[in-house]
């Protein structure tokens, strides 16, 4: 079952408990030829001293930074949602931050960013939901599905915390269910100029 998508504009990744090592595996796979922005939402404590961005930068080949308010989203760049804020995406492909109520006890929430990304990118979006222990991400997946984007869920059997991808797979018809090592090559394939998905 191959989902066709023309000219994707962004990749968005949501993960919670047990997702970090998967994310590191993915970003290690994306080299300088990868031309899409990659937006990463990880559930995390609101700790200003958090070293998460350093861990990501260390693993990634592409430039990696925390998403800033009102910043334009650049291709070939990896963005991490800052702790303590929801990360929103505007129609002009810039970020804005939001400190409103937590969603699924989480801020940043995956649903919030997925829903905004669906609105901004429509069908030109690739979304990935990884390991986690709550149901954040399912509603966002629904919205992306409605808008025609591509959905990739981590195979729950390969997830340290299978609940989050399993919940999404149960309620939304996803396009791909992937093991950890399959995800990076799959999105690389979508991005490459001679890809067969076009």
């Amino acid at each position: 079952m191959e989902k066709k998508i023309s000219d994707p504009k962004a990749v968005i990744i949501g993960g919670s408990a047990g997702s970090l090592k998967v994310i590191l595996e993915i970003v290690r796979n994306l080299d300088k030829d990868f031309l899409l922005p990659v937006i990463i939402i990880i559930h995390r404590k609101n700790d200003p001293e958090s070293a998460l961005i350093d861990v990501l930068s260390e693993a990634a080949v592409l430039p990696t930074k925390e998403a800033e308010d009102k910043e334009f989203i650049l291709s070939g760049t990896i963005y991490l949602a800052p702790a303590g804020y929801h990360l929103l995406i505007e129609q002009d492909y810039s970020f804005s931050l939001d400190s409103s109520e937590k969603v699924h006890f989480s801020r940043p929430s995956i649903d919030v960013s997925f829903q905004c990304a669906a609105d901004a990118y429509g069908e030109r979006l690739i979304a990935i939901l990884l390991s986690g222990a709550n149901e954040d991400g399912t509603k966002g997946f629904e919205e992306i599905k409605k808008n025609g984007g591509v959905l990739i869920a981590q195979e729950p059997l390969t997830a340290e915390a299978p609940y989050m991808p399993a919940h999404a797979i149960r309620y939304v018809s996803v396009d791909y269910i992937c093991s950890i090592v399959q995800i990076g090559p799959l999105i690389r394939d979508y991005c490459s100029s001679d890809n067969t998905h076009k």
């Binding site: 800033e68 303590g84 929103l88 129609q91 804005s96 939001d98």
Partner: protein, 271 residues
């Protein structure tokens, strides 16, 4: 199936609200507005989106609820304790040299941060010569802030934040608890002035030594952020301080040339 307000509906609605009621949300960030509007629509269980929009346009009472729900009022005492530590250790010693201190909390919401600042001022021995002006667009939250009454449930977290911010008194000595709420000391409230003020439409009303506006500007588009920075610049004494939220910055504004960042936290000092 309904998937939420469209860009055209949003634009029309914001124009109508500005025209009918004078509230200008047209330069607020759209992704956040859409979320709040869709949330309220679901919360109030309207049979159709058209009906929801009609109600906003025609019912002043409902418009008040709409404005309350549209603006984000998530706040806490000593939010980002490190910031309050910097205020206490780096800014207050400079303010202490002035005979009289004026502080403005712009976008004060239900008052949590105003009471936090007042407590630290009291501990620094400065409260008696300080006036704290606290303003918000939303009259309902200003009323709550002025009452000095907050839910007791959050006090545990606030007490922890207070200690992390370097507080060493007994936090519970600043309030009396009753029926699930706490009332802050009148000594704190006596030094506060509450009022509605709309950063989008209203002008400068005084000169301040310290302006705090934390997690308000993230809801404004770039251009409006610039206008509000100009308003703050106009309202700040020379050598005064401007404090922003932990993810907000002055660096994109033209007024930045007249400011320098003060330490590692989001505090700038006017040159």
């Amino acid at each position: 199936m309904h998937t939420g307000i469209t860009d055209e509906q949003l634009k029309q609605l914001l124009n109508d609200i500005l025209e009918i009621y004078g509230y200008d949300f047209t330069a607020y960030t759209k992704a956040s507005l859409k979320r709040r509007i869709n949330r309220l629509y679901a919360l109030d269980r309207f049979p159709s989106f058209a009906e929801f929009l009609y109600r906003i346009r025609t019912d002043q009472k409902y418009l008040n609820r709409f404005v309350e729900e549209l603006t984000v009022n998530v706040t806490e005492m000593f939010r980002d304790p490190h910031f309050y530590g910097a205020l206490r250790e780096q800014v207050f010693p400079i303010l202490a040299t002035y005979p009289f201190i004026r502080v403005w909390h712009a976008g004060c919401s239900t008052g949590e941060e105003v009471y936090s600042t007042a407590i630290l001022l009291k501990e620094a021995g400065l409260l008696h010569k300080t006036l704290l002006y606290a303003t918000d667009l939303n009259p309902e939250v200003v009323k709550i802030a002025a009452s000095g009454i907050l839910p007791a449930g959050a006090m545990q977290l606030y007490s922890e934040n207070y200690i992390k911010a370097g507080g060493n008194a007994d936090f519970s000595s600043y309030y009396t608890a009753n029926y699930g709420h706490v009332l802050f000391q009148s000594e704190l409230r006596k030094r506060m002035v509450f009022s509605t003020h709309n950063l989008v439409a209203d002008s400068s009303f005084n000169q301040f030594h310290l302006i705090l506006c934390r997690n308000v500007l993230i809801y404004f588009e770039r251009e409006l952020q610039g206008k509000v920075f100009a308003l703050f610049d106009e309202s700040l004494e020379n050598l005064g301080f401007l404090a922003l939220g932990s993810k907000e910055t002055l660096k994109l504004s033209p007024v930045i040339s007249r400011y320098q960042q003060f330490g590692k936290d989001k505090i700038w000092r006017k040159k």
